[in-house]
Every structure is written in C-alpha cells, then in structure tokens.
Amino acid sequence: MAETSTARARPRKRVDRWRWAGRIFLGLMLLYTAVPMVWMLLTSIKSGFAAMQLPPQWWPAEPTLASYQKLLDPQNSVGADFLHFFWNSLIVSTLTTILGVIVAVPAAYAFSRFRFPGRNFLFFAVLLRNMFPAVIFLVPLFILMRWLGLVNSHGSLVVTYLTFGLPLSIWLLKGFYDNIPIQLEQAARIDGATRFQAFLKIVMPLSVPGIIATAIYSFIGAWNEYIYAYTFLNRNDQLTLPVGIQRFFSENTTDFPGLMAASFMMSVPVVVLFLVLQKYFVRALTEGAVKH
C-alpha cells in the first residue's frame, strides 16, 4: 500500500503504538518464563561448589558437562536411577497418551455427531470431573487402586491420568469435530465409503491437529504429575521422573547442578514433542471444504 494521504497515516501510527506495547508486553512475558529456565540450564553446567557460591556466579566460570555425563551413565548409580525413572515416565506417559487418544477420538466424535438420549447429561458429567481439584480424588482413588490390586504398578497411574486427561481431551476434540462440515462425511458415504471409512479416510485426517493437541496435553499432564505418582508408587525401581528427581536429588544431596541437569533433561521430551508437531497447529485443515 502506498502512503498517499495523511488522513490514513494517522490511524496507522496509533496501530504502531499498540503494536509496540504488545511487543514490550510479550518481551516481559518471555523474560518471565525464560529466566528460570536459563538459570536452570546455567546451574546445570556449573560445578557443585560454583552453584552454591554467594553472591551467585551468574555465568559459570568453568562450564562442565559433568552432571550430564553422570546422569547419562548407566554404570554410575545416580545415572542408572535417573535413566530408569526416565524410562518409567516415558512408559507411563506414552501409554496414557495412546490410550487417551484411542478413547477420546470416538467419544468426541460421538458427542459431536450423534444425538442420543442422555447426550447432554453425559457430556456434562464428563466435564464435571474437571471442576474439582485433582487431590480431592487422591484417597478414594488410592482405596480403589488397592482394591483393584494396582497399587505399586504403573497401571494405577495410567488409569488415573486417563480419567484426569480425558474430559478435556474429549471436549477439545469435540470442538474440532464440530468444525468439520458434516457434508464431507456425507459426500464420502455417497462416493462409496461406509460410515467408518468416511470417518477414517476423511474426518480423521482433518482432525489430526486436534488429536495432536490432545496428545501433547495428555503427555505433558502425565509426564509432570507428582502427587499421584508419589502416593501410588513406593518401590524405587518404579518411580517416575518428578518423584524420582525429588527423592534422589533434593532430599539426599545438595547436588544442585545434578538436580538442574535432571530437570533440564526432563523437559527435553516435551520440547522435542512440541517442535516436531508444531507444524500441525499452523492452520485449520478444513479450509476450502465448503462454501461460506
């Protein structure tokens, strides 16, 4: 656009000012979220002594990867534990995510497409879970798990995380399915697909961003969960990362670089997940499907 009139230049200046205000706000937010992480990263490459110094050594004088080497070395007892916890967390979170998607996809689709008796009540009931803080269910669920013989097994966590993650997953996915025009499925069925094929070949691919969003959401929920893992698991070889890190680094040692290195490593899978999958969030896939 050519700047031809002064009348138009004025409102643009105001827009610019808002844009700058927005940028400054975003910058502050970035600082707020990034500083702890940067600090974590910096501490993790210090020596144990340097990490304790006062006034703090802002920048590590002699950066070292010793903590990481220790954590990743299965021969070292700390490393063996850490890798074991990491593996446990990976198993629990992956199982939670996969099972969550397997249950949430058909449930959300049914809520979106079918009118059946009790539909609204059921949908409300599903969401009701999210209106209470998770700790409320700690004791009842513990009793239930004992009764089911699941205490001290990863199964207890997977089941629990599923019940916590599913309501929001279903709700989120239902929103995605609501936005996929029903005529697409109808067209597919006329073109020779069964109802299931229409879902699988046409609707499923379009809901991939939703599925990925819910998958990331369940994975992070399970990956970071602490209270239930702390309560349901007692055997050391079963602990997941949050509990494991807490027990073996913060209680028994003052190995801050080790703790920070472990914390940093714990955030790696989530970041990788985001980076790999972010391209699916970019735009709505249904663009161009129907006339507006």
């Binding site: 069925r189 006329i190 073109d191 109802r195 094929q197 046409i202 663009e287």
Partner: protein, 365 residues
Amino acid sequence: MARVVLDDLMKSYGNFHAVNHVSLTVEDGEFVALVGPSGCGKTTTLNLVAGLLPITSGDITIGDQVVNDLDPKDRDIAMVFQNYALYPQKSVYKNLAFPLQMRKLPRDEIDRKVKEAARVLDMTHLLERKPRELSGGQQQRVALGRALVRDPAVFLMDEPLSNLDAKLRVQMRSELKRFHHDLQATIIYVTHDQLEAVTMADKMAVMNGGNLQQYDSPAQVFAHPANMFVASFIGSPAMSLIPLEASTVDGNIVLTGAEGWSLPLSSFNSRKIQNAKTRKVVLGARHSTIKLHKTAVSDAVPAKAYTVEPTGDVTFVQAFLSGAIVNISVPPNVDVAPDEQIWLEFDQERMHLFDGETEMAIKAD
C-alpha cells in the same frame, strides 16, 4: 440408469414437516428440476433420496429396489452438494478420483476418467491444486466433476451452478444438458434459477413449505400453473394476480374490480367461473398477455401507471388495479409516464383464473 419413485414421502422434525407427503416419479433418463423458495425442503428431499437422512414415512424406490434402509453407498447415486463439500486435504485430482477408488476401479481407468472429467469441466490445469487454492466457481466445478466421473443410476445435484459467473453458467448449462443427453442420465436437479429449470429440465417439481405444488413439464407449469403459488413463483417478472368479484350481469358473467369496472369474460372463461365454488376470483395474467392502451377501448379496464422501467428490449410498466400491482410489458417506443391514465386489455385465451379461497386454478370442467 434407473427411475426414481417417491411415494408419500415425509420428513418431520417434531411437528415441523420439512417434506410433506411428496409423491413423484422420475422416469429413467429424465431430467427433473426441483424448484421452490428457500427453506421449502429441496435439499431435504435430495438428502432423503441419497439416504443421508432417515425418512419419517413413505417409500423411495430407485430402479426396482425400495431403498429406504439402504446405505448411501449402496444406492448407486452421485451427488453435488449445495456447499460443495470438497475434501480439503485432497488435491482436485484426488477429489475426483476418490469415488472411483472407493469403487475399486483399476488405476489406469481412474486416471482416464478423472482426466476426461477435468477436460470437460475445463480444469485440467487445476488438478494438482487443493480446494482452498481455488475460486468459488472452480470449487463448484470440482464438486460437479466428482459426481460426473462416476456412472451412477441417479445424479442428485443441489444448485450445482449457483456460484458461477453468468458466462460460465451458460456454458456449464449447455455442458450439463449435453451430458444428460449423451448419457441418458436420470438427474434430480435443485435450482433457484428458473431459467436453468426451463432450459434443461424435462419436468419441473415446484415445492413450497414441504409440499409438492405441481409436477409437470416446464411448458405445462408455465402455461397452466396449478395454483396461485406456482403462478406467482414461475415466470419473471411474476404473473400479476388481481383479486376480483364474479357476478352475472344480463346473463353474462363478468369480473368486477374494486374500482367498480367490469370485465366481460369469454364463453370458455365463463364456463370456468360457473364451475367455481366461490365468487371471489383471482385473475392471473403474465406481463406479455396484457395489452396497454392509452385511450379507452371496449373490454379494456382503466388503471393508473405507477412506475415505468425501460430495459432496452422492452419497457415494463407497473400499474395499480383492484388493489394489486400489475406488470405489463410494452415495446420501448410506447411512451407512458407515471400517474398516466391507461387501459388494460387482457388476453382471454391466456388468462388464468384462480379460486380466491382455495387459491387453486379453476378448471373448465
């Protein structure tokens, strides 16, 4: 190809009847246009035939088979959706190929048919695009193409040309007509555009409020509208409908206007009035069947010109008569001014008489 029979078809949502006791037969190879105002149940009817909606009652037969409980895929139909419903993740090529793939055609045959359809619809250069990269008109042609690649028993088309520009629409209209002629395809075609219905269809089904109003050839519907709704809906500008009072003066039947004038009727029209159950009669006349006089002549009734709209070929004059607005077309050289006193002469052969109470056309016998 097959014939399609709707028998007492009903689709109700609670107390609301979107399709109300509709019965009609589309013969094998016939092109039937479904017309009616917005919300009258056209799309619903198509969806019922396609099997996308469960019917409330009645029967649908395609070929020799009652298809009430058949899945859409087993009804051997192709459909063009009103809002296109293109698969957004697939290229144009794959959109066109999908129905063929689902029917397990060999790959080279699919390729041949897709390219043939693309050629007919003039979109060979668009085959690799995604739907979102197309204009509205191009999207519509893809939707049409996805139906035309197949060889189904029946084509269902929901306003397939509505979003094309005038030139393309005329071109596609002839392509479709040609297509129908070559394949002897059975087509049910929903349209808002009467010209489309008249130029392409063998028969026209006029719907209103879920009810089938008339089902006949376009010429018949035009010449003999079954009721006042059809009369006013079909034809542009709309047929003028003038409420009058029938009475007998000196043994002759006349129609009297609100202004007090009387119009004597021909013997044929008089016979119709004798059959009528009511004295309240509505006179229907198309613009071209009314003669405008600038001086009083016998059998012409007085009116006042209201607006004058020259369009080039013809000039449309609107006049008030007996509380109704009457449309008259005159040659462009006839000079009429608003508020001018004029006289209107109705063509007795081509006038329509409706029962003012039932709104149905009055029959001669």
